[in-house]
Amino acid sequence: MKKSHILAIAVIAVAIGIIMSTVGDASVYVSFREARERAADGNLTKVHVVGRLPRDGQKNIMGLEYNPTLDPNYFAFTLVDTNRIAQRVIYFNPKPQDFDKSEQVVITGAMRNEVFVADKILLKCPSKYVEKDIKGATAAR
């Protein structure tokens, strides 16, 4: 066998290995119901959940728990997924500062006992590009 053939076979083997590793490591977007089912089955791999924060009549987010003087590394909130299932989420980090403003939240992590332990929070904030209002536009000419 020529060396180039050996090299080609090695390359293909590594490439397949890479594909397999990506497939193995790739996470999924799930609902909280599925996240609970996975945890019940003993599957502790981390998943992504997309959701919104429940707000009361004054647009305040309900169920935020962050008391830095007690423990700066404990932040808990409730997230409602796309199927309208609410779930308590704990994040062992300080509360992200822009959390209150965010419209959509993506968390990664897994269910443990009765709570979802998140290790990453991705916030979809109202982007400045879609800004549709000018401050003081009516006041000043």
């Binding site: 790739a26 992200p96 590009y129």
Partner: protein, 865 residues
């Protein structure tokens, strides 16, 4: 006043640029058609050149128009309104220019124009076919900013759109169509950084430079000159590798300094999108060098050169089409260009692959089989390793694309990027690093000598032994510092050291012979150092701010959770790692005064950007402002002063991590401050502060009636009421003659120092006004409530609040300087190689066989020597 002229001029320039690019592409094509390389149809060529010059002029005109709009604050234009503001300094106005998608396209277009003009001037022989490709690319790029509607299809997004045409629903435009906002919404504060002035142009120059070897390869395929394109294209490819590599690292450095994820690389799809083509471009350079030296790997060079440009287009598609969606934190927003971007990508893919397939059989292949003693084999293996590394990042980063594609076919897919991206990428990229470091050392040693079993063993022995010894030493040192070192880390360490030492040996011998030859060696030392720097700084990044108290909730989860942030009360020192750390107050940046100025020395006015000095403002022994002076401040950033005292040595240093309250970006943006030592960095950032947008919770006012000289306890602090005096900080009050202003003089004894507190009592037009004074350090506020002239008693109100605090994360990054210095060395090496290949290419420009022969004879000499 609304000015539509400059926007119209800009828009017309865009249209002219687009039409001229189309004409240039067609006429360059006609000029080169059915003629061998170097011969052209004179009249078509004249037309082509003229139209490319017209195109260049129009592009300049677009840039001037857009910059004028930003520079003169013409907020009637959406671009200026949404990316700039009145208080932005000029150098950041340049960054506004490319903050938006349209501006960054423009930057890319600009570089293509400059490079195109250089090719027209310096590569006459290749001009027509190469420039046909260039003009074709420009046609696509200018179409992205065209902003015209053709047959109900919107082509491109114009940067010259008026605000009233963008925000059509805004009520103010119905009543007053000529409304112009007074101020813009400003530049994203994270981009207000000097790296953001220089990083995007560098990166886009890198993007633009990948087009050159691609255009030469296409021209070569088209004209059937299947090997001659390498020589003129190689210096351009090296230039591209240099600029793109440096550009990527600039972005990494910016992220390290400005963002707060705690590192320089986050595997964000936007970062990956540039890293992938850079790896392939570097691989293609190796392929081209192999052809230049021993007439092998030509097909590889073709494939890789074409792939690197197509990957740049793919990167553009990923970051600008909105396909990444949730997957990236900093891709551009979707401007509805995804269709156009996809057509751009597919058109060039079809063109390049079609030509390649057509000529594939006639591309010469080397007959001789490479043996293990041929350095060419190892260079080739190295290039393959780079491509495999690129493939992993590409395959994973494309996950959102698979979802979008399946969704397009009607299949719902819920695939997400790996939850632990770092672990996922590291497990392949680390081994790529190992192989790259090893192969650079091996191939460089073999490259410059004649190899057989004996010579190879001899020349590997010395660097090999030194490598093993130094690796053993490092491992012992790591153990001595009570750190673990896994097997993979040991392998990376050893190969990294081998890469440095073997290449160093090569460079030292080459310097004696001819310095110009050592570019490759220098660049490879740089790469190996970078790998070692990454190993140390990422593998041994150490959180110093481990929280040891406040474990209230952790009983729920007994596992070891990372609790990486600590709360620091103002002026309370807390132990952390090997340091005693204290947070000692908030500071502002005052232009003209070195360092930062304590907030307590400043009295804020109605104008956000102006403040009054409450005391003399001194820095480094010089007085910059006297008490009562008005001074300009930069109110956006608050700097939190954090003092680090090393417990063992008693050494003290101060960091000022900053945070910026920004409503539009949604909250608080924190940026780290970094203390740099030779062998490590201390990196700290604020994770949280009391919400600055909320009013403080003050306790109910407690009244005290005091006589001069009385002593009281305020919120655990001991305070002396020393007297009443005429108020001296009245500049902000606008007092008139006959008004009265007095102030109480208190001395409060805090933990660290004493505070003078001066609540004011003002009688103005027979009305009483009270200006209370706050000591932020102590969470204390005093109000002068009343004067009782009869028995010389004064009433003061005292209220208290929670003390100020910050939540801090701090970490140590060992040997991160290896990464930055390795980057510089890599850049130097690229430059040296560039100079050498450029000289060879210009010798070859005459294309006389004699010159070619000379080169042929020189190379064996190098091999023999």
């Amino acid at each position: 006043m609304l000015n539509t002229f400059i926007g119209d001029l800009g828009h017309i320039s865009v249209i002219v640029a687009f039409v001229a690019a189309t004409v240039a592409a067609y006429s360059y094509y006609m000029a080169a058609r059915e003629k061998p390389l170097g011969e052209t149809d004179a009249s078509w060529l004249r037309l082509a050149r003229t139209s490319f010059l017209v195109h260049s002029g129009a592009v300049m005109s677009i840039i001037i128009c857009l910059f004028t709009i930003i520079y003169s604050h013409r907020y009637e234009y959406y671009y200026a309104w949404s990316h700039s503001s009145n208080h932005l300094p000029v150098h950041y106005m340049i960054s506004c220019f490319w903050e938006g998608q349209e501006g960054s396209f423009l930057l890319w277009i600009f570089w293509h124009v400059i490079i195109g003009l250089a090719i027209m001037r310096f590569n006459r022989k290749w001009e027509a076919p190469v420039m046909a490709v260039f003009a074709f690319v420009q046609l696509f790029l200018t179409s992205m900013i065209l902003g015209v509607v053709l047959f109900d299809v919107k082509l491109g997004s114009s940067p010259f759109i008026l605000l009233r045409d963008f925000l059509t629903d805004l009520p103010v435009f119905k009543t007053n169509p000529d409304f112009v906002p007074k101020d813009g919404t400003g530049l994203n504060p994270l981009l207000q950084n000097y790296w953001m002035v220089i990083h995007p142009p560098t990166l886009f120059l890198g993007f633009a430079l990948t087009l050159v070897p691609f255009a030469f390869a296409i021209a070569g395929l088209w004209k059937g000159e299947l090997s001659k394109w390498i020589k003129p294209a190689l210096p351009w490819a090296l230039f591209g590798g240099l600029v793109l590599g440096v550009g990527v690292m600039m972005g990494a450095y910016w992220a390290y300094e400005t963002l707060n994820f705690g590192g320089y690389w986050n595997w964000d799809p936007v970062e990956n999108a540039v890293y992938i083509p850079w790896l392939v471009l570097v691989a293609s350079i190796h392929g081209m060098v192999l052809w230049q030296r021993s007439r092998t790997a030509l097909r590889t060079s073709f494939v890789l050169v074409i792939a690197s440009f197509l990957l740049i287009l793919y990167a553009t598609f990923l970051t600008r089409s909105g396909v990444l969606g949730n997957a990236s934190v900093h891709s551009f927003t979707d401007l509805g260009l995804s269709g156009q971007l996809l057509i751009y990508l597919l058109a060039f893919m079809a063109l390049a692959i079609g030509l390649l397939v057509w000529r594939w059989k006639s591309i010469p292949v080397s007959e001789k089989e490479l043996t293990t003693y041929n350095p060419e084999l190892w260079v080739f293996v190295g290039a393959t390793v780079l491509c495999l590394g690129a493939f992993q990042v590409l395959f994973t980063t494309s996950i959102p694309v698979y979802n979008a594609f399946l969704g397009f076919l009607g299949i719902k897919s819920n695939l997400a990027l790996p939850a632990d991206q770092i672990a996922h990428y590291t497990k392949i990229q680390l081994w790529m690093g190992v192989l790259v470091a090893f192969l650079t050392g091996l191939a460089q040693i073999m490259w410059w000598q004649k190899n057989d079993k004996n010579t190879l063993a001899n020349s590997l022995a010395v660097p090999g032994i030194i490598t093993l010894l130094s690796a053993a030493l490092v491992i012992l040192l790591v153990r001595y510092n009570k750190l673990q070192m896994s097997g993979t880390y040991i392998v990376l360490l050893t190969t990294g050291l081998f890469g440095v030492l073997a290449n160093l040996g090569v460079v030292l011998t080459l310097i004696k012979r001819r310095v110009a030859l050592s570019g490759g060696g220098v660049a490879h030392i740089g790469i190996s150092l970078m790998l070692l720097g990454i190993l140390a700084s990422a593998g041994y990044s150490n959180i110093i701010s481990k929280n040891v108290s406040g474990l209230v909730y952790s009983k729920e989860f007994p596992e070891d959770l990372n609790r990486d942030n600590v709360l620091l009360w103002r002026n309370d020192a807390a132990p952390m790692g090997g340091y005693d750390i204290s947070y000692t107050g908030q500071y502002y940046d005052v232009p003209g005064v070195p360092g930062y100025v304590n907030k307590e020395l400043l009295f804020r006015t109605d104008d956000e950007y102006k403040a009054l000095a409450r005391a003399d403002i001194k820095a480094e022994g010089k007085t910059y402002y006297k008490a009562g002076d008005t001074l300009e401040i930069s109110p956006e950033n608050t700097y939190y002063r954090v003092e680090y005292k090393q417990k063992e040595s008693g050494e003290v240093f101060t960091l000022y991590p900053r945070a910026q309250v920004n409503e539009e970006m949604g909250g608080l943006l924190a940026s780290p401050d970094i203390k740099r030592f030779v062998d490590h960095d201390i990196y700290s950032h604020i994770s949280s502060v009391p919400d600055p947008s909320k009013e403080k919770d003050w306790s109910e006012v407690k009244e005290y009636t005091l006589a001069i000289g009385d002593t009281i306890y305020l919120n655990d602090y001991f305070a002396v009421f020393r007297g009443v005096e005429p108020a001296h900080e009245t500049a902000g009050l606008g007092l008139a003659k006959g008004d009265l202003a007095i102030q109480g003089d208190f001395l409060v004894f805090g933990e660290k120092k004493q505070y003078h507190v001066h609540p004011m009592f003002v009688v103005r037009n027979r009305l009483i006004g009270r200006v209370s004074d706050e000591v932020e350090d102590l969470g204390l506020r005093l109000t002068f409530i009343n004067v009782d002239p009869s028995d010389k008693k004064f009433t003061f109100g005292v209220s208290t609040t929670q003390k100020d605090y910050i939540i801090l994360k701090a970490m140590e990054k060992p040997f991160i300087n290896l990464l930055w210095s390795g980057t510089l060395l890599m850049a130097v090496g690229f430059c040296m190689a560039l100079v050498k290949r450029r000289r060879e290419a210009s010798i070859g420009n005459g294309a006389t066989p004699v010159v070619a022969g000379q080169k042929q004879t020189r190379e064996p000499k190098q091999q023999l020597a």
